[in-house]
Symmetry: C2
Subunit: 275 residues, 2 copies
């Protein structure tokens, strides 16, 4: 998906919501367990109920891998049910030396090889440029590089002073030389508050993928106050607070209601920048 | 596998060799393509031909993921064919917030959940302590944390000065507080030469997983000159130069010969420290 298509979707839907598909077999409604692939059935119904309110879906690879072969099958099938009008993000935090990253890129970007054709993948920066570039070799695909995460352990290394700036700022500066804002996004946790102002110094109009709104405690208002750019520049993810809004037969309807609340807030915010 | 069991295996086999199973469907002997699972057949024969010469096997997850569902199946089946006397390492470079890392740990350490029961996993450090700790919750399992990698891009961040030391040294110092040398290892690329001396200041008797000997150009003699500890402290990986020594029917025999060359060198080196 191209940057202008993404921005067009944000304008059409008045939304920059990403629904995280962290689908856990032990948390989905019990009646779905009668289906051949309960996780796929759950995801299909969540997608059906929310696709007009969000502009992206983000399956979290770990939740599928934890179930072995069955889980990998659910992931492949789920990827095929994400509408092409939505950005499909695989949250996989991969990254390795060049020839190995090429294999990871095939795993998630090359449907003939692996059955999956995601638009974007999350990547860990520690191994540097050649661990990232193989993903950029695929046309119109995105790298979403970890910059400043919202977990407690994120402070262990990301805030380290590295001369003129901190490590997460150093990551953004270097990665800006690997690709432009049409191919590269950064992960910034929702709880980072006014750190978004610093991020915007280095990435004034990049899209930022922002997890942590909802169950993880981040506030949409704070994220937008400091993080919004003139092209919106935000993709705000919510997983648990949407997909597990109910554990009953009404789970999809309740997911829609939760997504609608966030989308309505977003519509108002977007109005403020003339979208 | 416990540390003392690993050291015992090194003494018995006079080897600290790890065979990397970076198995690529396009590089294995053609006659294997007639088998139902050519990659599994290849791996089984490599293991059969080398298991008395090495103390570890390391499948590289990317090579399996690139083939979609079939590849994941090959990985699960391969994991079952690694003898319990050898350390089984999944080279997966994972790492995410706590609840997601727990899922990755289940994927590779919990056979009831996923079908896989590896002894050790490679982890990227960027997201800090809570991205690592869920793997340590599994008894006798190892985390092998990226410290100083041998790829060109490794220089982008790992050598950054962070006050009193460089980032890779900072990673080792912090990770030493998360687990001892009985549960934590570090990845250090074979081409790092006398940087091993600096690593040993911070991790005097940790095991280091050293990729890059052989096809990637690192020298076993250099690695040992600077990296050997009194408990050996090295697991040296070679992938391509062993497993692709021949593309003919003799591939397993030729793999054995290449493994034997390295093991003979290692036996001599180990003799020098009284093993």
């Amino acid at each position: 998906m191209k940057r202008e298509q993404l921005i067009a979707q944000i304008k059409i839907k008045k939304s920059f919501l990403c629904v995280g598909l962290d689908t856990d077999l032990t948390l989905i409604p019990e009646f779905l367990l009668d289906y051949e692939d309960p996780v796929l059935e759950f995801n299909k119904r969540i997608i059906e109920a929310t696709h007009d309110l969000c502009i992206a879906y983000k399956p979290n690879s770990a939740f599928y891998e934890s179930r072995g072969l069955e889980g990998w099958k659910s992931l492949i099938e789920t990827s095929k049910h994400i509408p092409s009008s939505c950005l499909s993000i695989i949250d996989a935090k991969r990254g390795d030396i060049g020839n190995t990253s090429s294999m990871y890129a095939k795993a998630f970007f090359d449907p003939e090889s692996s059955g999956m054709n995601f638009d974007a993948i999350t990547i860990a920066p520690y191994m540097g440029s050649d661990s990232v570039k193989p993903f950029l070799a695929f046309q119109d695909k995105w790298v979403i590089l970890l910059a400043l995460t919202s977990n407690e352990g994120g402070k262990d290394f990301q805030f380290i002073e590295t001369g003129t700036c901190r490590l997460f700022e150093n990551v953004i500066q270097k990665a800006n030389t690997w690709a432009g804002n049409d191919r590269m996004m950064y992960v910034v946790g929702a709880s980072q508050g006014d750190e978004f102002l610093n991020i915007r110094k280095y990435a004034p109009d990049h899209f930022l993928l922002v997890p942590g709104v909802g169950a993880q405690g981040g506030s949409l208002q704070d994220v937008c106050k400091y993080g919004l750019s003139e092209s919106c520049g935000l993709i705000v993810n919510s997983s648990r607070s949407i997909i597990y809004a109910s554990s009953g037969e009404d789970f999809a309807q309740r997911a829609r209601e939760e997504a609608k609340k966030l989308q309505s807030e977003m519509a108002e915010i977007l109005g403020g920048i003339g979208f």
